[in-house]
């Protein structure tokens, strides 16, 4: 993230310096105020959805739903904690129903549950982000709304291409994450094997030394 950010940031600042330098500070400040405004809106939306989810969680409904989706989730995300499964299910369901504002807090909670404290992104975390990036859903309601507002009478035409594109790209994403993770496991497996080999070799050498000292000692005792 740092590399991408630095690259884009510096390129933009340099370009801006030559094209419109007086906009540099205003752009930065306007970015800041947009972040503040969005955070306030998010706070409101998240409070509503987290409140509802608190209630729904306590009724046990989300657990039941998560149990239904468990086989699918296990396959895609691997073995994760029960709470994580619950939040992942909530996040994906919210996305499916087009409730982006509910999906975000659920996604954040899911990521918290998936955190293993190692400071590295786990397979399940990456999978969740990749699937969310394909904006997976049943109906592209936002886009259809925009099209109709711009005067179209035939906004429904985008439904099928969008569904196909979303699901295929999500599928490719899942396959790629699994492939990369398997490749990583293989590499670390080979490293672990090397380590193990060296350790066992060291152990056999230590054993031989031990035996030698033992035999030397027994010899010296018998000589006495």
């Amino acid at each position: 993230m740092d590399i991408i950010f630095t690259l884009l940031f510096m390129s933009s600042i340099i370009l801006l310096f030559f094209t419109n330098p007086s906009m540099t500070l205003p752009a930065l400040v306007s970015g800041g105020s947009k972040a503040v405004n969005l955070s306030l809106e998010l706070c409101a939306i998240m409070a509503v959805w987290l409140g509802i989810m608190q209630m729904v969680e306590k009724t046990g409904l989300t657990e039941k739903l998560a149990r239904l989706m468990r086989p699918l989730i296990r396959k895609i995300f691997g073995k994760v904690s029960d709470k994580a499964e619950m939040y992942i299910t909530a996040n994906l369901s919210a996305n499916m129903l087009g409730l982006g504002s509910a999906a975000t807090p659920m996604g954040i909670k899911a990521m918290q549950e998936l955190d293993d404290g190692s400071g590295k992104a786990t397979r399940a975390m990456i999978m969740l982000i990749v699937i969310n990036s394909t904006s997976i859903g049943i109906l592209p309601t936002t886009e259809m709304g925009l099209m109709t507002a711009a005067g179209s009478n035939n906004a429904g035409i985008i439904i099928i291409p969008t569904l196909i594109a979303t699901f295929i790209s999500a599928f490719i994403g899942i396959v790629l994450v699994n492939t990369i993770e398997k490749f990583k496991l293989k590499k670390s497996g080979e490293k672990a094997k090397e380590k193990h080999k060296n350790k066992t070799m060291q152990n056999t050498i230590n054993d031989k030394k031990c035996k030698k000292t033992l035999t030397n000692k027994t010899e010296s005792i018998s000589n006495d």
Partner: protein, 172 residues
Amino acid sequence: MIDIYLFPFVLLLLFIYALFKKIPLYSSFIEGAKQALKMVVKTFPYLFAMFILVELMRASSIIAWISKIASPLFNALGVPPEVTELVLFLPLSGNGSIAILKEIYTNFGTDSYISICASVIMGCSDTVFYISSVYFSSTSVKKLGYTIPLSLFICFIGAVIGCFITRLIYHF
């Protein structure tokens, strides 16, 4: 017609079910709000960094420059040059992408191949940087690994597939 009743109906059922199970409504919302506040405080710095970057990129029109360079490659894969800017900007900002989308509708008419392509692209990708930074903000993760490059790649694949299918349907 049904859609305006569906969602409130589901909510009503949920609330009634919760009441039935004797779950306190008031404290649930209080608890939810507390969590929301904590979440927002954690995500703000990341949103901030993202937005200043996006505003700088918009002010410098750097996307227009990158589009010029990326266009031939995109075009070869079936993504028309007019939507290249959208494909490049979508991972960065939802609102900015909506602005680009509206411009495309105005310039090309809502029923043209370009507009439909653009809508499909919009519907099969999302704001990678926003999602990534917000979702990781509440975790201890410092090393994102291949998360962002892979997500960007998937968005691009989605765009290629979307344009391809649109072309099929459009010439139907």
